[in-house]
């Protein structure tokens, strides 16, 4: 093979210039017909003949460019994706098929209730399912994602206290809580007071007892917490908060470690949010949008968002009648497509299936922990739930850090775990396999982690140079953040 051919082959796989850089004067993708009366339709100052910098590319080049870029995407559908805390669950194809059924996909959000009975019934049933699986009394599907679910929950907490003429100003949040909790509390006008966990990363009832008082509106606690550890004193903690007149917000971001096995409603939670993309297998981010339903115990049910789905004789309809509601938090009815997917997931698995999924997620995380804790430093000793947190401590003499391990994993064909989070752990590598992975995949990943640890001692330069088998190599993250180039500009 000649060098130029080898270059060309590499180029075919790995090099993709910007679409602007592909532009050559005179190339054309689509030949639009001339608009003859343009100047009659629009004022002349709004018309232009050319757009500066608009790439001139043929249609096949445009298609190839974007298709190639799309092939660089990594997801749970292409690669093991152990991004701890984020819970990159595989999205079952059956969910997609259900969401694309014409009756759901083509339904207009402003369709009158009588033409949307099936959708309303699905939403009402999903609310009941979420209430059942969490042990809560009522659910609203409205919030657009987990963080908005938190905000909605905390607004209800505030409405509850102000309804009772009780001006409480403080929210207690453990250091191991979900990172968005302090922001949600602050947005509701609360002062945040941080609670430290014990050496095992768990919040003790005694610590809450010391911090609690008539000034505390609520405790926001994540269970399992962001260290992947079950808060085993949760019931006593909740009792301490309740005795002082406060409420317990349980962040349901890690509900995928409890689903079908334990119910937050039984742990003393008054309100929680569900992250449908983390627990009920709906897509994340770009494939989303998210959905962050909130569940409440009876004590907060009056404050749930309006409108609510009600049964009116034989039909379902929307009602704005609840007088103490905090009102609407999302236009229309929430991210409905996600409800269909979550509903399909729950129906497909059933109660026992949900329990099995949870058990497998916890088993997979503990398998990775047990195999790797001999080599990597484990942040918190003992069993974990759905994710385990390792650190780079044992690599310190080699000069290899968590970031280097993460970059090297890409060369081994795995997406990297979450790194440097949670913040309470120095050099954290947070691994969450989810329930979807086979033993073989986990073994391959573990072998890669072990190989990298060995390489750190024998050939640290190879790790510092990683990744080398990706479309682009090691990025200068500091420069990208300090001097970002956010868009292409014509010379």
């Amino acid at each position: 093979m000649s060098d130029s051919m080898r270059d060309k082959q590499a180029g075919l796989l790995l090099d993709e210039p910007l679409i602007f850089e592909r532009s050559r004067s005179g190339q054309m993708g689509f030949d639009a017909p001339e608009l003859e009366e343009a100047d009659e339709l629009l004022p002349p100052e709004l018309l232009r003949d050319a757009i500066e910098g608009m790439p001139e590319v043929s249609e096949p080049e445009v298609v190839r460019h974007f298709l190639r870029l799309s092939q660089w995407n990594l997801s749970a559908a292409t690669t093991f994706y152990p991004l701890g805390s984020c819970t990159m669950k595989y999205n079952p194809i059956a969910n997609e098929a259900a969401a694309r059924m014409a009756g759901f996909a083509g339904l207009h959000p402003m369709a009158p209730d009588e033409l949307a009975q099936g959708a309303l019934e699905l939403m009402a049933e999903l609310q009941d399912m979420l209430a059942e699986v969490s042990g809560m009394d009522a659910v609203s599907l409205q919030p657009a994602a987990g963080a908005q679910g938190e905000l909605t929950g905390m607004k209800m907490v505030r409405a509850y206290h102000s309804d009772r003429g009780d001006a409480r100003r403080t929210v207690l949040i453990p250091a191991s809580a979900h990172g968005t909790n302090p922001a949600s509390a602050a947005l509701c006008g609360y002062e945040v007071q941080q609670l430290e966990g014990n050496a095992l990363g768990v919040v003790e009832a005694d610590a809450v007892r010391k911090a609690i008082g008539p000034h505390v509106a609520a405790l926001m606690i994540t269970n399992p917490n962001t260290l992947g550890i079950f808060e085993r004193e949760i019931a006593q903690v909740a009792e301490v908060v309740h005795q002082a007149g406060g409420l317990v917000y349980l962040d349901g971001a890690n509900f995928n470690a409890l689903m079908g096995v334990a119910k937050p409603g039984h742990m003393g939670a008054d309100v929680l949010q569900f992250n449908l993309h983390k627990t009920f297998s709906t897509p994340h981010g770009g494939g989303g949008p998210g959905a962050g339903p909130v569940g409440v115990r009876q004590v907060l049910a009056d404050y749930l968002p309006n409108p609510r789905i009600v049964r009116d004789g034989e039909v379902w309809r929307w009602s704005d009648a609840a007088p103490k509601s905090i009102g609407r938090v999302r236009s229309f009815h929430g991210n409905f497509g996600m409800f269909v997917r979550a509903y399909a997931f729950i129906q497909a698995l059933g109660g026992n299936g949900l329990m099995r999924a949870t058990q497998m997620a916890v088993l997979n995380a503990n398998y990775v922990r047990a195999r790797l804790e001999e080599i990597y430093h484990l942040a918190v000793p003992g069993l974990c739930m759905h994710e385990c947190v390792l650190t780079d401590k044992h690599l310190e003499p080699t000069g290899i850090s968590t970031l280097d391990v993460a970059k090297r994993l890409l060369d081994y064909g795995f997406y990297a775990p979450t790194i440097y989070f949670p913040l309470v752990v120095s050099g954290a590598l947070m691994i969450e396999p989810t329930e979807s992975e086979s033993l073989e995949t986990l073994d391959e990943f573990i072998a890669a982690m072990i190989a990298i640890s060995e390489e750190a001692a024998s050939d640290p330069n190879a790790i510092h140079a990683a990744p080398t088998l990706t479309p682009v190599g090691r990025l200068d993250e500091a420069r990208a953040a300090r001097k970002p180039v956010l868009r292409w500009k014509a010379d």
Binding site: I419, Y420, F421, L423, S426, E477, A478, A481, R482
Partner: protein
């Protein structure tokens, strides 16, 4: 890692240089090293009142975002205006060009809670243990 012995240090990893009634404040080499490359700095404005142990600014690195706490109460009399545009100064020269603010102290006994160089080094060793 360097810890100049003419400075005082806080548990939140700020250093303080005291000249008469004015405290010059920045973050320590330990903090800078833990954070990694600093990419964003937000500081209070001249004339702002700051309270001891309360957040007065923000540093963001490629790893994490952290509050900067004021080790003393008082009024901000000078701010390092070069810093927001040249955040690498925090990493390159944390005790020099990477200084953050100067505060005219209202209560010099605030300094009593701070550690000297030796105590602080011990504190860092425990923290990273």
């Amino acid at each position: 890692m360097e810890f100049p012995d003419d400075l005082k240090y806080s548990k939140e990893h700020e250093w303080v240089l005291v000249e008469e009634n004015v405290a010059t404040i920045g973050i320590s080499a330990f903090a800078e090293h833990q954070l990694g490359d600093v990419v964003f700095v937000e500081l209070p404005a001249t004339g702002d009142e700051v309270a001891k142990d309360e957040a007065m600014g923000v540093v963001e690195s490629v790893k994490a975002v952290s509050d900067v706490y004021s080790p003393v109460s008082g009024e901000v009399v000078e701010v390092n205006d070069d810093l927001p545009e040249n955040t690498e100064l925090v990493n390159d020269d944390p005790y020099g060009d990477g200084w953050m603010v100067k505060i005219e102290m209202t209560d010099p006994t605030d300094l009593d809670d701070l550690m000297d160089c030796e105590e602080y080094q011990k504190f860092c060793a425990e923290t990273s243990g």
